[in-house]
């Protein structure tokens, strides 16, 4: 049973992950990545972290749906009807990744791993919550600031019109040149 519960999602995760870069169709690539990440989330649940596993599953489902839309918007050949190679430096990358995997596997198999210290709490989610609101609060606040900075950065990057478009090169225009004027007193 343990064999099936671990190895089926494990093989699916790596297999679907590899297929992402083999598919011509962008929708297939996106959903292959989703399958891979769902298996990863399932394995996190298997490791006893129910809450985080479900968070990974839900977040990835939403993220990949958004990604599919962007893929179709931006890719030159989203449906894969005219197959074309969109890769570079494949051989060198394969060598680098093979070597890295060999190195990591050698380390994993030969490292003298320590014995388990303590035992898992009855409710790991409670433990996580208490940790984030206690000793790890700085981590949480840093993440919050990073998320806020990302909101600002993405809006600035993605918007078509900047302040120079609105107020002129010297930013001296008295009235902003907006396609749809609005706001209080403008």
């Amino acid at each position: 049973m343990e064999f099936v519960v671990f190895w089926v999602p494990a093989v699916l995760a790596v297999g679907c992950g590899a297929l992402v870069f083999r598919f011509d169709s962008m929708a297939r690539a996106t959903f292959s990545l989703l399958a891979s990440l769902l298996c990863t989330g399932g394995l996190v649940v298997l490791l006893g972290l129910d809450y985080l596993g479900v968070v990974v599953v839900l977040m990835m489902t939403l993220e990949m749906s958004v990604m599919a839309v962007f893929m179709v918007m931006y890719m030159m050949n989203p449906a894969g009807l005219t197959p074309m190679t969109m890769t570079h430096n494949t051989r060198a990358a394969a060598v680098v990744c093979g070597l890295l995997f060999a190195l990591l596997a050698a380390g994993i198999l030969s490292a003298p791993w320590p014995d388990r210290r303590g035992r898992p709490p009855d409710d790991p989610t409670l433990d996580l919550g208490m940790s984030l609101m206690g000793p790890q609060m700085l981590t949480m606040m840093t993440l919050a600031m990073a998320l806020f900075a990302t909101i600002v950065a993405t809006v600035v990057l993605a918007t078509r019109r900047g302040r120079y478009d609105r107020l002129g090169d010297g930013l001296r225009a008295r009235r902003a040149d907006d396609p749809v004027p609005g706001g209080v007193g403008r």
Binding site: A10, F21, T30, L147
Partner: protein
């Protein structure tokens, strides 16, 4: 079940993702590689929490950090692609090499 199979799987996911990130020309596909790499990191953190240090929540906090990094990477990546597409009509890394020249 011991920690080694989980860690080997995490390493495999990381390396497959790295292969994608190194080989793909399209920025969106490159981001998919990064997502897979972070998936490997999440699995490794969960394994370390479960098998070596379950008494503290540090492993779980590391997963939260990795999941947040995934979300930020996606958001900023798509914003950069949007900005690049607006100014250069391209979504490929090789066509956005102005800084190199």
């Amino acid at each position: 079940m011991s920690a080694e199979p989980f860690l080997l799987l995490a390493a495999a996911l990381f390396c497959v993702g790295l292969f994608g990130a190194l080989t793909q020309q399209s920025i969106v596909m490159l981001m998919m590689g990064l997502e897979l790499m972070l998936g490997g990191v999440i699995l490794a953190a969960a394994t370390v929490w479960r098998h070596f240090a379950p008494a503290t929540a540090d492993g779980q906090v590391l997963i939260i950090v990795a999941v947040t990094a995934m979300a930020l990477e996606m958001a900023v990546g798509f914003a950069v692609v949007t900005a690049l597409f607006r100014s250069r009509e391209t979504d490929m890394t090789d066509m956005a090499a102005e800084l190199k020249e």
